[in-house]
């Protein structure tokens, strides 16, 4: 799974639009005091399975976009850039072939303390051992 995360981080860093629109992409939680908007990445599930001759792994990733803007405009602007960056993207993963990486379900908007808004975006991907 580390290789998948590294591939996603590489993809983020190579996309100038989303890099410019956010203060960073963090694994787990962002350090306290990080300026908004920022994105966090978490692995939320998955399972390995075998085809006839290959080992596959299905996994799900949760991106959370955080922002403090009173309107949700910035949040959804970052969401659009996230979709452009990651929807059906080809991820380069050492030792594996990425079969697909697709967004699943509608984003979930959560209102947190201190006017912080969280937009939760879930993706599902599958990799196959080379």
């Amino acid at each position: 799974m580390d290789a998948v995360i590294k591939g996603l981080v590489r993809k983020y860093r190579a996309d100038s639009a989303i890099v410019a629109a956010t203060t960073g992409l963090f694994l787990g939680v962002a350090p306290q005091g990080t300026a908004t908007p920022f994105i966090t990445l978490n692995v939320i599930g998955g399972y390995p399975w075998d085809t006839f001759d290959k080992e596959n792994e299905l996994y799900e990733i949760q991106f959370s976009i955080f922002d403090k803007d009173t309107s949700a405009n910035t949040l959804y602007s970052v969401y659009d850039k996230l979709k452009t960056c990651f929807d059906w993207t080809a991820i380069t993963i050492s030792g594996y072939v990425s079969l697909y990486f697709k967004r699943i379900a509608q984003p979930i908007l959560e209102l947190l303390e201190d006017n912080v808004k969280q937009l939760i975006v879930t993706y599902r991907g599958e990799i196959e051992a080379e």
Binding site: V29, N42, G45, F66, I108
Partner: protein
């Protein structure tokens, strides 16, 4: 030659069949979720807490048993839909995380992990 239309009977049989399958899936998921959150935590033991908490990314560890007891399901027989979950406020934060807490997925991950089994249950031979 006489043609007879059994469409309504076939539809009713299929609906009843899939409703039963749906109930089995929902009950199975409730059980799997409870099983998932019944373990002891391997994370930090907070002052005053009786048990250790879960590590980020792992399902919530059992503390009081309230979350486990709250997991339930509802069946919408008209639309053939099942809802599995809990109405506890903090359960949502555990599942989704926030700007201070990493998610402890236990609902969506259980659904994902059991997809092959759900397909098997649903696709069993229609009588």
């Amino acid at each position: 030659m006489i043609f007879r239309w059994y469409g309504d009977k076939v539809t009713a049989t299929l609906r009843a069949y899939y409703l039963e399958r749906l109930k089995i899936v929902a009950k199975m998921l409730v059980g799997r979720i409870k099983e998932k959150i019944s373990h002891a935590g391997t994370g930090r033991k907070w002052p005053g807490a009786r048990r250790a908490s879960s590590k980020p990314g792992e399902p919530p560890a059992r503390q009081t048993g309230d979350l486990m007891k709250s997991i339930t399901h509802e069946i919408d027989a008209i639309n053939l839909r099942a809802v599995v979950g809990t109405n506890l406020q903090y359960a949502r934060k555990l599942e989704l995380g926030d700007d201070r807490i990493e998610p402890r997925p236990y609902l969506r991950s259980t659904l994902t992990e059991n997809e092959p089994l759900i397909k098997d249950i649903i696709l069993q031979r229609v009588p």
